[in-house]
Amino acid sequence: MSNASAVRLWPLGRTSNWSLMTATPLRPAISAAEGSGPLTDAELVAVTLEGDSGAFDVLVDRHRRAVYLLCYRFVHHHEDASDLAQEVFVRAWRGLPRFKGEAAFTSWLYRIAVNTCLNKVGSRVAPHEPLEDADRFEDPRVERPGADLARAERAAAVRRAIQALPKKQRATVVLRLYHELSHQQIADILGSSVGAVKANLFHALANVKRILGSEP
């Protein structure tokens, strides 16, 4: 009898935000530049660097959702996440001439986003989520609202524990569990190895477990 079959595995294979495309129509000048299909990120970067800032707008439209959601996962606040997302794109704009295309644009953009978020929230104490936040997940039509409330409180506790993690562990958890990036992509973003990313994730989750265990 195999006991391994009893091990519940973390669900994989959900839709990733990584290859998010925009439905926004391209500007005429850029449309003219694209031949058979939409320009790649690298091509849009090149067009931007040639002086067409409209190409950068397309990049923004293409990646705004992923960047915003990433920022949101760090701050759990809409306005702050919006401000951070804007800052990420402005920093990307400033740094575009230094983008050499050695890594994927998305990795480069995510690296900027992670650094921006960590700089912003690094020294901030994880905010306490009020009970009202948990209440919004409660559906009065459900027969066991108490159980749902307990689940929501547990989810809030997990989020708080993640926010209390050291920077790199926190970034690893956000990128892997929320954004479902591959270990290789995370390694590219954080400038480390795949092995280090996995070890980071393991230690991060061990820390989350410890923090949850120490909560009243």
């Binding site: 391994a4 091990v7 595995l9 923004v60 705004r64 997302a85 402005v90 569990l177 479902e180 989350v208």
Partner: protein
């Protein structure tokens, strides 16, 4: 056989453990419990909801970024008079000169006899005079100094009651800030 390493625990929780190490997992209750706990926690964390903003928000965000980026595109000029539009410079210069002149006529605790600038009262040639060693004011003096009253009036630059308020009203926030800074600097300097 050794227990799983941290990397292998993650691989196991994600169903990516090599067959060789999977054999150990099948036999080792400690590692199995650890993998189960890890997997459960990963699922719990990943299942945390992220509220989706309004569909209108995305265009708003793009517009914000566009605006911020366009602001970056504008050539960077150092703060100072160069940020002020030319048409605003002359009336502003006159306005600032009037402010300084009024300050200069106020009683001073120190240097009572050394006003920074004064407006001559000659009826034919009312020219603004500025101290030569004041660089900021020398810029203004260069701009407005050569203009005599009639020329300025003919050019529509002469002040009439309410002009100063009108000019200030038409300034951008940035220009108002700069004007405020200039006047504050001059007031501070005049008082010292």
């Amino acid at each position: 056989m050794t227990h799983l390493t941290p990397e292998e625990f993650v691989d196991a929780a994600e169903g990516l453990l090599s067959p060789g190490r999977l054999q150990h997992l099948e036999r080792c209750g400690t590692c199995r419990r650890e993998v189960s706990a890890l997997s459960a926690l990963m699922g719990e964390a990943a299942g945390s909801p992220c509220p989706e903003p309004s569909p209108l928000f995305w265009e708003h965000l793009s517009a914000r970024v566009r605006q911020a980026v366009r602001a970056e595109v504008e050539p960077t000029v150092p703060w100072g008079l160069s940020r002020l539009r030319w048409p605003a410079l002359v009336p502003l210069g006159v306005l600032a000169a009037l402010v300084v002149a009024s300050v200069a006529t106020m009683p001073h605790r120190s240097r009572p006899d050394a006003p920074l600038a004064s407006v001559s009262s000659g009826s034919a040639e009312r020219e603004l005079e500025f101290e030569a060693d004041d660089r900021d004011w020398s810029v203004l003096a260069d701009l407005v100094g050569p203009l005599d009253w009639e020329t300025a009036e003919a050019a529509g630059l002469a002040l009439t009651p309410g002009d100063a308020e009108l000019v200030v009203h038409e300034l951008s926030a940035e220009e108002r800030q700069e004007l405020s800074r200039l006047i504050t600097d001059e007031l501070t300097r005049a008082k010292s």
